[in-house]
Symmetry: C2
Subunit: 332 residues, 2 copies
DNA sequence: AAAATTTATGAAATCGGTTTCTGTTTGGGA
DNA sequence: TCCCAAACAGAAACCGATTTCATAAATTTT
């Protein structure tokens, strides 16, 4: 391995001067710096990030924690899209990304400990925030941001779920739908916001609404099951699913019952990723801006790390209501 | 931060003894080790991975390189599933995962350099292997494994694409299909294997076959476009798509042309992820064993790192042929 | 009981950087 | 021409671990 000492030899300057030159510190003559840079190129110098982190106290390395039920994990398509954009932005700023683990096995260790071990500069949390281990991380000294979080311990980025859900439901009502079945995801901040939007849309026009049914995010089978169970009982004219995958499961169940969409029943969903666009019919949805959310998360986290930004704020990234084939107007 | 020196103080043993105790080296009295472990727990000692890596020359950290076209990246659903399992296994063995970047921006650096910087113990490569930067990594001193690679520079793990494709096509032929349109992914090892299987299935029965059409992996729009273009021209009775996403795009295009599946045209695809199961009709597919592939990659890479395994082999993980609703038997 | 091993512990060097602090030049002003 | 401040370069300490080697204590052998 080529070290800074080799480079010191090659260039004829001391290690300290070399270090300063490489880090663009002041106090190094331009021509000196130039010579050092040349020499570095010549002998193929690669700085050792671990050595640097050890002394300098920051690692240029961010942790990403997927805290979801086991079967899901990295395969959460929406979160992966968010991460993809987060990665793009942070890596353009010189950071690497390390995946934190649930550590379910022998070497289990608390997330905080894991972060300290690697001297991570900050962490992005995606998933479920009720666990003690996650809470512990949030209240630690490590800068954290999270998606869909509003617990007040750290900044969070979310879509405008309440508004867009209310708008979605209002429009459905306007199209003549009154019996709208909302299959929600499991309990969390986002779910509650959406339920609130659903309820308020009905409240606005002073109409009765069906009770919400709690299903699960990203569980196409469960959505199918509940569709088969509740459709006959409640006879909704429209069904709202918690996400694209669940919706697809639901749509199939409906077809299996001999129903066609949107003729017999209208369907809407959340997320609006590629899946909602390639199915047939294309799904009406509240399309979340995954890229925007990823960027907001990255920007905020870097501000916390680099500029000491310590404002615990809620950042809202606008979602987009997308009415497409899967919903139809009922004759009034 | 609590260091090994603090722990040395607390326990009354020297740093060297403490280090040995923590690493389970021989030459430390059992009672001594016990005292040290107790002390460690008491003062909340967390080892510093960077300091350790610096001296010990290995980081317990693996790199993962997604080398795909920009629009795709982490959102490649099949690769993410593979990574998910890879992560599960490697982290149970105490490794962390760091995402390597394409480094398209200012701080651009070759992958090899990036790995050396972080002293990564090994790398998993997913994607396209033709780039110089990737080749450079493969021939470097860093242990690497790759999915769907067969270039001979490093070990590769793949499905038995040739066999399963041939079987798929043979069965379609057996069901009376003769005009089978194969929309392939872009040129690479896997694509060629599948094309070979397709060709051989026809050769076996001495029948003419349609020319393959090169589309792109994970490009639902292009598949839709080609479906609209080639269906009228070639009038196939069955179409094979390169992956679930593309198939979904194709299926929609077919529906848009007023065709129904499988009555007017049968459809099959590769991957067979959750998407192929939740669409309607469910898609006949060559289902790749993402978990198995992830495990094989992890196992091999760890063997290379920990046991010096240097056998450049091709590991084949059996895929599964899954005939479902989207294909029908033609009357003979 | 003395000598030869074996076992347990610690001192000190090292990994590859950064940073503080000191000393030497250099240039500008009087 | 002389003095002082600013600019530049380097020596040495340090970050937190591991590892080699020397030494002391315990155990076995003769």
């Amino acid at each position: 391995m080529v070290t800074i000492y080799d480079l010191s030899q090659e260039s004829g300057f001391s290690p300290s001067t070399v270090s300063k030159a490489l880090n663009n510190y002041s106090g190094v003559n331009a021509s000196t710096r130039e010579k050092i840079l040349q020499a570095a190129k010549k002998i193929g110098y690669t700085p050792n990030a671990n050595a640097r982190a050890l002394k300098a106290k920051f690692s240029q390395n961010l942790g990403v924690l997927f805290y979801l039920r086991n079967s899901l994990d990295l395969t959460h398509y929406f979160f992966i899209q968010v991460l993809n954009e987060f990665k793009r932005l942070t890596e353009s700023r010189g950071y690497d990304i390390t995946l934190l683990s649930k550590g379910e096995d022998a070497g289990a260790q608390a997330f905080v400990k894991h972060c300290h071990m690697r001297q991570l500069d900050g962490v992005l949390i995606l998933g479920d925030y009720t666990s003690d281990l996650v809470q512990e991380l949030m209240i630690s000294d490590i800068p954290c941001v999270a998606i869909d979080y509003a617990g007040g311990l750290i900044p969070g980025v979310t879509s405008d779920n309440y508004e867009k859900t209310r708008e979605l439901v209002s429009r459905l009502i306007g199209m003549g739908h009154e019996r709208i079945l909302f299959l929600t995801g499991e309990f969390n901040f986002v779910t509650e916001e959406r339920k609130r939007g659903y309820a308020d849309a009905f409240r606005e026009v002073n109409k009765e609404r069906l009770p919400c049914v709690e299903a699960r995010y990203y569980d196409a089978d469960l959505s199918a099951e509940y569709t088969e169970k509740y459709y006959p009982a409640l006879k909704p004219t429209a069904i709202i699913y918690p996400d694209d995958f669940s919706a697809t499961g639901g749509v199939n169940a409906l077809r299996g019952m001999g129903l066609s969409i949107p003729d017999d029943v209208s369907v809407a969903t959340f997320d609006g990723g590629v899946l909602s666009r390639v199915t047939s019919p294309t799904l009406t949805c509240v399309r979340q801006n995954a890229e925007g959310i990823g960027r907001a998360l990255a920007t905020k986290l870097l501000a916390m790390i680099e500029n000491g930004d310590d404002k615990i704020e809620q950042i809202v990234v606008e979602a987009q209501l997308q009415f497409t084939e899967s919903c139809r107007r009922l004759k009034v």
